[in-house]
Subunit: 148 residues, 2 copies
DNA sequence: TTGCTAGTTGCAATTCAGTCGCATCTGTAT
DNA sequence: ATACAGATGCGACTGAATTGCAACTAGCAA
């Protein structure tokens, strides 16, 4: 069974060339990190990992590339309930939107996919005649283990 | 018909005294602004308005009071899709959670209350055994007028 | 009323994420 | 190979938010 397209390695780079967006050494490194990251990198972590692939990568290039990826709708920006300061976290946008839950006690981040969430977005589009481009549902609280 | 408790003027101050939280001149000014604000103040706006009631109010007191209000679950923190920079916005937590929609073109902020949203949170609590303390759904896109 | 003290405040310095201007460099179309 | 639009690195900068500390004060107890 093939992976969904958006999970294929190299998908971000492919997107760039399809759209005629210039591919540079630095972007290659940054995209590779985004593609292979397990989850939720902040800009500083992304910079550190990208530097390992290409020591030339600069902080401002990371931010500029993140802005580009956001504008292309290829990544989502999260703040994970500001559990660790004001910085933002990034993850590849996959096929299906999901909810993020952050445990206020242990700091664990959980994800949850739900038809009800999709239905809610449909309701907003219909009832409010609002065309959704990006949505973010973040929940803070206590996970099963920490609730006891 | 009486207003719901959380919309009664003085409710925040009442909460403070009930909990034995010390009431100061400065806090009184800040709480009054939060209570009477129509919507979505950022910290700088809140400071400006509070200074009009009590010129003594300092920026750090505003931030410290906001932190206190957040911890008490009396206000919600939003970023409104970063339409205007990285600052945060605050609003009193009312009886019913609502969704925030931000138009990426005209900047209008809309709110939407939905049973489906409540159902979704119920689903998260049940299926993930996650005890929700705070939740935030922010949507970016195009409003009816700007979609045309 | 007075005095006590834990909690609060103002201030200035600081942190920290993110942005910008500009000279230089490079990917890509020709 | 060449040209040039677009991308980069660097350091300075911005703006939101935090902090350390001395001075102040709300609220309580006597």
């Amino acid at each position: 069974m093939p992976l969904p397209q958006t999970e294929m390695p190299g998908r971000l780079q492919a997107y760039f060339s399809e759209r005629g967006i210039r591919m540079t050494q630095q972007r290659r490194a940054i995209l590779r990190v985004m593609e292979t990251a397990s989850k939720h990198l902040d800009a500083a972590q992304l910079l550190r990992k990208a530097k390992k692939l290409d020591p030339q990568v600069d902080r401002s290039t990371v931010y500029r590339t993140l802005r580009l990826l956001k504008r292309q709708g290829l990544i989502d920006e999260l703040d994970l309930m500001h559990l660790n300061g004001e910085k933002h976290y990034y993850e590849r946008k996959l096929n299906r939107d999901h909810i993020h839950m952050a445990c206020l006690r242990c700091g664990k981040i959980m994800e949850f996919v739900s038809d009800v969430f999709d239905a809610l977005k449909g309701e907003v589009e219909r009832d409010c005649r609002f065309h959704i481009v990006v949505s973010r549902l973040e929940i803070g609280g206590y996970c099963a283990a920490c609730s006891k």
